[in-house]
């Protein structure tokens, strides 16, 4: 079976006066129908730009897709005309934005906003579309009597439900969720994630979950891609990633969150900051912050190495060029520091 979404060698740069911001660099991702892929990384790792790239909504200028293809249902999204792309947006691929407070139009009722996407993509208008909007609201757990309410009359969690209703109204094949729970508090997060997981199952929608929360990943994703400085540095099925994280950066991420099984007085965050995307470090982009870095890391850029099955990692340790430090288990990073 061919893949639903196949990203080959995609690079997206923002050409600004201060230089080229290399937001996404040669990433490769694949997604099957019904599958959930987690895209994890720090702020500025290029997650959102990747998502906008798939929607072809990278602001241009200054953004530009400099290389690569995005195949969706066997067609290259980079090559189809804008008009056709518009018929895909919201219909076959839809997107949930990070902040539900600002992603709804304050002067339109939620019903109108759900009905809008139905009107654009299906031959339904007026009252029928509004009825369907009401059904969608019911589906996300909001009484249909509230279709005529305005966004400011809803709480944050309910607004995000409305946004989910909009994104699922046309039954898309692919749902891109850009940090859908970041702006919500923890209890609401759980509800929204539950809702998304259930609806995803019901509609057999593939999902790309962008997040920086490994807890969210563990809860909903089948596969995970860890992004760093615009590159996918580790890609693995969820089980393998949590059991056998291979890239030092992934270790660092696990070291930065509290572990329930162990008493730790101090977390060990990754030292340093994300590199400046206009001036990425030579060789492995992570080497300035990597606790295991060797001189060669600054010279040679790592290629993808297969760890096991689908599990790939971009690190010279797996190419045999750097001595493999035995990093086993999620708490290794902590032990190193102690």
């Amino acid at each position: 079976m061919s893949k639903l979404l196949k990203i080959n060698d995609l690079s997206i740069h923002y050409l600004t006066e201060d230089g080229d911001v290399k937001a996404v660099n040669n990433i490769n991702l694949e997604l099957d129908a019904g599958e959930t892929l987690g895209l994890v990384g720090e702020t500025g790792a290029g997650k959102t730009t990747t998502a906008l790239g798939i929607m072809r909504l990278v602001p241009n200028p200054p953004g530009e897709v400099t290389s690569g293809t995005i195949e969706f249902e066997g067609r290259d999204l980079m090559k189809i005309p804008e008009e056709e792309m518009r018929m895909i947006r919201g219909n076959k691929i839809s997107m949930i934005f990070q902040d539900p407070m600002t992603s709804l139009n304050p002067v339109m009722t939620v019903g109108e906003q759900i009905a809008e996407v139905i009107e654009i993509h299906q031959d339904i208008a007026g009252k029928e579309a509004m009825d369907k909007a009401g059904d969608m609201l019911e589906l996300v757990g909001i009484p249909a009597t509230r279709v005529n309410d305005y966004p400011h009359q809803f709480s944050g969690g309910m607004k995000q439900r409305v946004v989910i209703a909009i994104s699922l109204a046309c039954n898309p094949q692919l749902l891109i969720a850009d940090e859908p729970t970041t702006a919500l508090d923890v209890t609401i997060q759980a509800q929204v994630l539950d809702l998304m997981r259930n609806l995803k199952k019901e509609f057999n929608t593939a999902m790309m979950m962008i997040t920086h929360d490994l807890g969210v990943v563990a809860e909903v994703c089948d596969k995970v891609a860890i992004m760093y400085a615009g590159e996918v540095i580790e890609y693995a099925p969820i089980q393998q990633l949590f059991e056998n994280p291979s890239h030092p950066y992934t270790h660092g991420l696990f070291g930065s969150i509290p572990n329930l099984d162990e008493e730790v007085t101090r977390l060990t965050p990754i030292t340093g900051l994300m590199p400046d995307p206009t001036d990425l470090p030579s060789g492995c982009t992570f080497h300035p912050r990597c606790p295991y870095a060797k001189p060669i890391c600054a010279q040679q850029a790592p290629k993808n190495s297969v760890v096991e099955g689908e599990h790939r990692v971009k690190c010279l340790m797996f190419e045999g060029l750097v001595d493999k430090v035995s990093i086993k288990g999620t708490d290794q990073g902590k032990k190193e520091v102690v």
Binding site: T102, N105, H121
Partner: protein, 303 residues
């Protein structure tokens, strides 16, 4: 039995509640505007003037009262027959003012409508697309802004000849740049918000985004400016008519009435006083309403 009715009650209560809650942003603005006494006074005055303008023919017949000269009753002071007196040709000033309100309001509303239509769409396009298009449109607007608007209006009227339509056109065109600037500024602040990106992500085209998502959100400052703009347009009409470039005699117009009566200021001050007061009150009322609207639409005062 009682338990059944008890169980049913909350459901019954919920429905009307949901209906009451259906309060749009504009209803909210109206509620806040109602609290502002000065704005409501302004609105009442404007309502009265609009009422007079609509029923002007009922209040005084145009041919037999408004433009019919009666030289026997020249420059009479206010009396029971002519409540505001008569002008230099013996015409009833009140009747002429009522009909003059028609012209003023007509010019005010249509000229501002024209200016919003042209200026608003230019501003929206410039703000939404940005870049070179923005530059071209806004630099043209700057050229217009460099010419004093009353001079521009005079130039247009003298080129096209004085008539009601040309007057509207002249005043409308001369205030296009200010609307273009206001709409552009407010579109710029809305364009980059997330809900616009979300609209793009559901496949909406540019036209839909501009008309359904941007313009309704950009409307507030335009409404305020338009209210004040109507006042400005009425004043410009009066000004142009005063110097003979506007409404031509014998048609009644407040500015023209002022102009006609100014020679007799020493003997019959009421000829100029009443139209002058009418202009003043109208402008004041519109400004009060505009200020009230500005406060009512200001999101920072929301609570």
């Amino acid at each position: 039995m009682s338990s059944v009715s008890n169980a049913a009650k909350p459901v019954d209560l919920d429905k009307p509640k949901a209906k009451n809650k259906k309060r749009s942003q504009w209803a909210e603005v109206w509620r806040r505007l109602k609290k502002n006494k000065m704005a409501m006074v302004g609105l009442a005055i404007i309502g009265a003037i609009v009422f007079c303008a609509i029923f002007a023919d009922v209040i005084a017949d145009y041919d037999s009262v408004v433009i019919k000269q009666n030289l026997k009753a020249r420059m009479e002071g206010p009396s029971a027959e002519h409540i505001l007196g008569t002008d230099e040709f013996g015409r009833d000033i009140f009747a002429r003012m009522v009909h003059g309100a028609r012209v003023s309001l007509q010019v005010g509303l249509i000229a501002v409508g024209l200016a919003i239509g042209i200026g608003g769409s230019l501003g929206a396009i410039a703000g939404y697309y940005g870049g070179r298009l923005d530059n071209i449109i806004m630099r043209c607007m700057d050229v217009f802004l460099a010419i004093p608007s009353i001079l521009l209006a005079i130039a247009i009227v003298s080129a096209l000849g004085p008539s009601l339509f040309n007057l509207m056109l002249a005043i409308g065109i001369s205030s296009v740049p200010s609307y273009a600037r206001i709409v552009r500024a407010s579109v710029l602040s809305i364009r980059d918000q997330e809900f616009i990106e979300a609209a793009r992500a559901i496949g909406a085209n540019d036209f839909r985004i501009i008309t359904k998502h941007i313009i309704p959100n950009a409307l507030a400052p335009v409404i305020v400016q338009a209210t004040l703009g109507v006042a400005g347009a009425i004043l410009s009409t009066a000004g142009l008519s005063f110097i003979g470039m506007g409404i031509q005699p014998p048609a009644p117009e407040w500015g023209a009435m002022l102009s006609g009566g100014r020679q007799y200021l020493r003997y019959a001050a009421h000829i100029t006083a009443f139209p002058g007061v009418a202009i003043m009150i109208t402008i004041l009322a519109l400004n009060l309403l505009g200020d009230g609207l500005r406060d009512a639409l200001d999101p920072r005062l929301k609570s």
